[in-house]
Symmetry: C2
Subunit: 418 residues, 2 copies
């Protein structure tokens, strides 16, 4: 009953934070902007009420600390981000911060201390909307902040160093923001799934196995343009037909490889007139898998297929790598603990990979990571239509709370467990 | 030998006319513009020198008449157009006018009159570049000029009626431009092929069986947009995959139907981001065949296939007719005569359909038509790269000259053929 009320309160808090926006009619909250200051203030109030000491680091992360039962204990990091995309929903980021906060509130309400400290990290920039980089907040904590980023400018020409300073930080002090609080137990992040897997499985929660690696390519199929009325079919080198064959190969290869997703999201036809045979097609290819070797094997296969298709149609294909990111596996130990917590709370443990990136990718450079996904309506995210059910939020709170308890149990010397 | 020289002269004339352009660095000659006046003046001079009486009608067609041996004889119409597309080649249109002119010049040089008059029609607008209509010139002669066209405006806002007047015509007198010169033997047009069939067959000339009918459609495949990283393959409704399957169906169906060409020349993906599964694809479909029933059967089949593809992918497709034009068959009698002429001159008779539209389409409303195609380099047209070989032009002149002789023979009472 209490849990249920708290889930509703949490959703109300998400709505409250969602009202802090740079734009009047939609939610857009970029790094180090006035609405980011407002959400940090609101969350600071809740953190303090939950018995946490609160500080803002130089990059702008809001950090609440809930001390352990004893000094000289390790720390468990919890967190997610408070910035948003443009025209965002209310749950991508804030939900994870507020679920963690709810757990600390409950500990505080029971006046309970654990055999480890908790630091709740509310990251200032995960989406990378303002500056041409992502994970500004978690990269700083993980010690991965690149000093060159200080000179990046936003659309208004404001350098990152200046925005950071206006937000209360000191550019020169950034290196001090790298974690230096001693031993870590890991980093655990709760986040909406941003996909339709849990909804289709009728499950409120998911245990993340890994954050998928990603390869992005641009392909150009070249054939020969010609008059749509005068060139017989057997004399054509239609670049769009080659591209179409490749699009279906991508779908076929991805469907045949468990856990793999591959997408052609952009496709441009030249010259692009209804009465002209396409002479050139440029398309994007996005390949993701939780295992790097599988991803590499898939795009190597697709490259072969592309070249085969182009050759049999007497055309050519150019294949260009645009970007690549390795997979980030979650810690099997922490994830097993999350699974035990889920089972203990009565939720079937469903494992899935994360298709989107998260702060946990950066935090994995620092410590073990685990992620708990919460079902979202229709798998929709990055949209005002983003929605979560109160029951699912209650489940997330219960499982994270149980996770903390199990971790505490593990950390407690056997003599004191009676 | 004489023929050969004339072909070179004819090509030089095409180059001369090609210098009359609205743009300094490329050939663009729209309806009723100063360069159209210049080409009409140049052609008028050559027509007069060939013993023709010359007039310009109200729409702006230049008409040269070479009288018959006797009055009260029927008339044979020859012709093509003198306007061009933007950044045009020198042969699309002018070649046909000048081949016909060359034949008349030879009759005149021999002081020969035929048992029919020849009217050489140099049409003022076939390409429809200036006003949103095509065949302005031949439509007027064929009595198909729509009075509403007088109010059409060009890019500069100039109404057609005003442009026509500035060019020397009287809008009110347009109905008088409909053919009223008595009995007709037909209309014969020489034109570059604008396709690669003759080149591939190593033949200089082709006999047109029909001008293909054409159906144009816009299709919209709707699926469901989604995150390229988080939606598993089996949960996707990728509109681009549906469209790709359709593009290959179009190619398959067209390749399986002799004489049919079908083209997807435009394809737009929405939302069109590399990390978003396509939710909607809009594409163009162009289907052409010399037989209307075959064309209709093909697009009915393709529509079924589109709906099947959409349904099996749990999406939908919208199918919209954009435009349709019936096939225009050439006269078997006249074409047989052209074939006899080709064979007599030593050229193998190759029959083919015209994939592009021509003034002959309009003239078919008035009288029997025939068309002789001339091989063009690489099948390229509507481009400065348009090129013809002097030998092929010589062949066209010889065959059209022979065609006139054969037609004269047919028209001459047997008593006088000894």
């Amino acid at each position: 009953m209490e849990t249920h009320v708290s889930a509703h309160t949490l959703i109300a808090r998400c709505a409250l934070l969602g009202a802090f926006s740079e734009e009047p009619d939609r939610l857009t909250r970029r790094y180090a902007t006035p609405p980011m200051r407002q959400v940090n203030q609101a969350v600071t109030g809740w953190m303090r009420a939950a018995g946490m000491t609160v500080r803002q680091d130089n990059i702008g992360n809001l950090i609440g600390r809930y001390e352990a039962a004893h000094p000289d204990t390790p720390t468990l990091l919890l967190g997610s981000h408070l910035d948003t995309v443009r025209d965002a929903g209310q749950y991508d980021g804030p939900l994870g911060v507020l679920v963690a906060l709810a757990c600390v509130e409950r500990l505080h309400a029971r006046d309970e201390r654990l055999p480890f400290a908790i630091e709740l990290l509310a990251f200032c920039d995960e989406e990378g909307l303002r500056y041409p980089t992502t994970y500004l907040g978690s990269a700083t904590v993980a010690g991965a902040f690149d000093p060159a980023w200080r000179d990046l400018t936003d659309d208004a020409g404001i350098p990152l160093a200046e925005a950071l300073q206006a937000f209360g930080g000191a550019p020169a002090a950034l290196p001090q923001d790298t974690w230096h609080g001693g031993a870590l137990l890991g980093y655990c992040e709760v986040h909406i799934e941003q996909g339709p897997v849990l909804e289709a499985a009728h499950l409120p929660l998911g245990l993340v196995t890994a954050i998928q690696g990603q390869s992005r390519f641009t392909l150009t199929f070249r054939g020969e343009a010609g008059h749509a009325g005068t060139v017989p079919m057997h004399q054509r080198h239609d670049a769009l037909c080659a591209a179409a064959a490749f699009v279906l190969e991508v779908e076929r290869a991805a469907s045949a490889t468990p856990g793999l997703v591959a997408t052609v999201g952009q496709l441009n036809v030249a010259p692009g007139a209804s009465n002209v045979i396409p002479g050139q097609v440029t398309l994007s290819l996005d390949v993701r898998h939780p295992d790097d070797a599988t991803r590499a094997a898939t795009h190597a296969h697709l490259r072969q297929r592309a070249e085969h298709i182009a050759a049999t149609r007497r055309g050519v294909v150019e294949w260009q790598l645009v970007g690549e990111q390795s997979a980030t596996p979650c810690s099997p130990q922490l994830t097993r603990l999350l699974e035990r917590a889920a089972v203990a709370e009565g939720y079937p443990p469903r494992h899935l990979a994360s298709g989107a990136g998260h702060d946990a990718v950066m935090m994995a450079r620092l410590t073990d990571i685990a992620m708990l996904f919460v079902r979202c309506a229709g798998g929709i995210s990055h949209s005002p239509a983003e929605a979560v059910a109160a029951e699912d939020v209650a489940a997330a709170i219960a499982v994270l709370e149980r996770f903390l308890a199990l971790l505490a149990e593990e950390r407690t010397p056997p003599t004191t467990t009676t």
